[in-house]
Symmetry: C2
Subunit: 312 residues, 2 copies
């Protein structure tokens, strides 16, 4: 493995001059530069990126903690993050978590070990307070309302849009409405937002039995559909947490040959268009872009990105 000293020795110059040539720094005479570049080429030399990072005390890496790689929420978010990271010459490292607290803790530790300049949590199992503690080791950005955690955050402003969606259902005359969510009320800000919007519009609590959680994939949607079709014929509309999930939900009703409830999707996916489902676009790619900007400290203010209710 040839290194900068070899180049210095063979070119007859010092390592610092070689370094200058390599980094296009300062003043180096044209001849010196040429001489050095020639040796570099001859030895097929390339500077070591890790050594460089170490010396500079910076990695230009941001870690992105994400529960699943296949959910549209994360896909869109990652896309936005990548776009912004690319523009700023940063690299994106994907850190799968499945909302596992131990894993998340491990990732926090790697931040502490300076493996990344910053960490973006697209979602999290750990309490915000725990994340907040690790801020001293590097920037930590979350993709939800930070409340009083003091963490830099961007997120889709969902409640208003959920309200619009429920108002739409109310106007259509639906009174028994199912709600699907990814995680428990206690664990998830999104679930809380959905329920809050429901209660706001209907001025009544959402019956617990109509609030179904643990839904992440199309298949989960189908399972949820099975739950509702077998139990609640009175439910005539369902607020799902994804167009694909709505598709899965629908499967169960088709299989049972029961009339399909009115479904609202989310994420504005192709499947939603195919089924002509009303949907909600949370503009997660924009959230991703802002999250990255927060991560490298380009922006200081937290931003809520408004989401949008769409009739397909």
């Amino acid at each position: 493995m040839t290194n900068i000293h070899d180049i210095a020795r063979l070119s007859g110059y010092s390592v610092s001059t070689v370094s200058r040539v390599l980094n296009h720094h300062n003043y180096v005479s044209a001849e010196t530069r040429q001489a050095i570049e020639q040796v570099v080429k001859k030895l097929d030399y390339a500077p070591n990126a890790v050594a460089r990072d170490l010396s500079r005390g910076k990695t230009f890496n941001v870690g992105v903690v994400l529960p699943h790689a296949d959910h549209p929420y994360f896909t869109q978010l990652v896309q936005g993050i990548m776009r912004a990271a690319f523009a700023a010459n940063y690299h994106v490292v994907l850190l799968p978590s499945k909302w596992d607290a131990q894993l998340e803790q491990k990732y926090l530790e790697t931040l502490r070990q300076h493996a990344y300049d910053a960490l973006i949590f697209t979602s999290h199992g750990l309490p915000l307070a725990t994340l907040a503690k690790y801020q001293r080791y590097g920037r930590i950005v979350i993709c939800e309302n930070p409340h009083d955690s003091g963490l830099p955050a961007t997120y889709a402003e969902r409640v208003a849009t959920y309200r619009t969606a429920f108002a739409h259902l109310k106007k259509l005359g639906h009174t028994h409405i199912g709600v699907l969510n990814s995680r428990d009320l206690a664990a998830s800000a999104t679930t809380q937002a959905t329920v809050a919007a429901y209660e706001d519009v209907f001025q009544a609590p959402l019956p617990a039995k109509y609030c179904y959680t643990g839904v992440n994939t199309l298949t989960d949607g189908q399972t949820a559909g099975g739950y509702f079709v077998a139990r609640f014929p009175e439910v005539t509309a369902v607020m799902t947490n994804g167009d694909d999930i709505a598709l899965g939900f629908r499967r169960a009703y088709l299989a049972a040959q029961r009339p399909l409830p009115y479904l609202i999707g989310q994420e504005h996916q192709p499947s939603g268009e195919a089924l002509k489902l009303p949907t909600i676009d949370h503009h997660f790619d924009l959230v991703g872009v802002r999250a990255f900007q927060l991560a490298i400290g380009e922006t200081a203010t937290n931003v809520a990105i408004p989401s949008e209710f769409l009739l397909n």
Copy 2:
């Protein structure tokens, strides 16, 4: 910034002993271990990951070069790669390329600079010969048939399945068939596979005007639909390169109020199910898993993963 020397000094032991404790190496007496761990805790010390990488000459990072982050081909592939990488304690760094040769070259250089232990090209603009040259700097895996490039490779075995799909169209009596692809015949092995399968089944060349390329997104699909609907009423079936794309294609015909051709999708996406489209599942997640295994040298043999024609 506290470092291993601080711990050594304050604990009264040497750096090597501290290092041993940190890495659970060799023999360290229980008391020594305790004493050191106490200091570590007291100083809130964490070893620096970059320094460690440098010292070890290994990063446990694999770079994944991908043209787009939003195409299902790449999403699925990345998911497989991540699953396998996670299991092996490696990290996945996403490198967006847009098939830009200069960018790809830059990524090859970063491999040379030891920023990654290996590079996986999910697709590429550069010639395989160029990629092959960089093998001396680290492992390079491609996700297509390597032919005589000598590169480690996994890929979906597509031709047989494309043949099945075209045979299906032939049996249904279609004689004028459109074909959508992502990239030009010259640039893309996939496009070549599609065309080869067509010609195999129909024993005639695919008319160039029916071979439409540059299609990557749902919107591109719609544009393609516009192209066909305006020009080729005789085309009664189209082999698209994605279920979502088929959905876009369909839009153009709906807008023009013309009868829809028989569409075949790909990627086995929810939108395809919603439209009851026949589709092809290439099992890209499996391809991803194998690609990663090749990247870290767990497996030496190239593998073609069979794909599957599905009637939804």
